[in-house]
Symmetry: C2
Subunit: 260 residues, 2 copies
């Protein structure tokens, strides 16, 4: 079934009713998809401050009101406890289960954060005629831990995680330009070329995701990655947290071009 | 005494020692100046959330750690309790005093917010050859209450306050372009022309600041204004707050061009 032409509200309804439980990549073409992090209120100030201090790796699209499951800005009548195909629940930093609906776990002290995702800028790269290798090779984007420290905020600290896309040398400036114009979905690359300069010693073995082919005449280009806030958060071992499962995103009503 | 060519650290030192107590307009040319809001921690989550939801009128440049007077990102060794020429202290939304140093009022539960200021984009407008009338006429920029609602956050709600600059018709697109490139200091205009469309019924009598001349062939152009968060905050009558006095800003070590 191809959902690329469907409206976000229709697809969210199908997900909510349990009719879609797989990854959302490619669904509702042109509309932004978002990462989800849900935390108890007591951690939410530090997390929001972490995002404010690290907007490249943690671009917040919406913070829901305390206890609310309903989006007000990024989607009409969106329900973050039902409208994502697959969730993960963490206790003290350890994953304790995957669910297709987390209504039963909802609490009045929870705060939901929707965070920008590189799906948005990848569609703009493709529009600009720039290849996106992991889409061509139908796998996950390669991601790496780096030696670039995030700005600390309260209990949260750690290094930036980056995603890598091989870009033909001649297209690198345009790839910077296209993504720089979209700061709410990670923006410009953080580094171009020489992986060792940012602490990546084995490019062939990413820390997360899958390796992709780097062809002759291509530079590895590194973007701040939405895995950063999740990795930093989990390192602090919060008593309770909910996230989306990788690739299973919240589909918003907002078009990518509006996030420029 | 002309401080336009001095370094920010030198001028902050003079302010800290009580040798400068006047307005900072024009000091340290090229360096960003910032608004200050200091609140008890209990209000800081709602205020940070208000800023996240209203980035045009409330662009946060730095949030200091709880209880800390020392900046970490916008200025080296900056002290927000001493490095501003004049402060205002508010109790329950009412101004109770002006001071040149607020060290004696500092508390361990206070959180300082530095907020972007239109001084930064005005220097870029001038660079682009676009007139800035209130600088020509040596008065304060005219500011107006509007009917544009801010996104609510916790206890904070209210309408946007805008600043107005008359721009020759032919320069309006360029004025939009120049300021749109600086989202951390209010960004693009929120409205161009017809004041009644945003609830301004008497352009000749601004709600704050001074009226300036609008010449034949000029459109009034309206930008989101940093008075918005202060007005919204004070309407909630917080038990305690510290702000800068109007025009007496915190001078950062960061050049305006780095805020693009």
């Amino acid at each position: 079934m191809d959902y690329s032409k469907e409206l976000p509200c229709e697809v969210r309804k199908l997900i909510r009713e349990g009719n879609i439980t797989g990854q959302t990549s490619g669904m509702c073409a042109g509309y932004a998809q978002a990462n989800l992090v849900v935390l108890p209120k007591e951690l939410s100030y530090d997390f929001l401050l972490f995002a404010q201090r690290n907007p490249k790796s943690c671009p917040i699209l919406e913070v829901l009101d305390e206890g609310s499951r309903y989006t007000k800005f990024m989607a009409k009548d969106g329900n973050i406890a039902t409208d994502i195909p697959r969730y993960r629940i963490y206790e003290y930093g350890k994953m304790v289960g995957e669910y297709t609906d987390v209504t039963q776990f909802w609490r009045e002290d929870l705060v939901g954060f929707l965070i920008g995702c590189s799906f948005s800028f990848e569609s703009e790269l493709l529009e600009a005629g720039i290849p996106v290798r992991q889409i061509e090779e139908r796998c996950n984007v390669p991601m790496y831990n780096t030696n670039i420290p995030c700005a600390e905020a309260g209990i949260f600290k750690g290094n930036m995680v980056v995603s890598m896309r091989p870009i033909p040398y001649a297209d690198v400036p345009r790839a910077v330009e296209v993504t720089a114009a979209m700061p709410r979905v990670h923006g410009a690359p953080i580094h171009i070329g020489n992986p060792a300069a940012i602490g990546i010693n084995d490019l062939q073995h990413p820390d997360y995701g899958d390796m992709v082919t780097i062809r002759e005449g291509e530079a590895p280009v590194f973007w701040p990655c939405g895995v950063t806030p999740q990795a930093v958060l989990m390192a602090s071992k919060p008593a309770f947290a909910i996230t989306h499962a990788p690739g299973h995103m919240f589909i918003t009503d907002v078009k990518n071009v509006r996030l420029k």
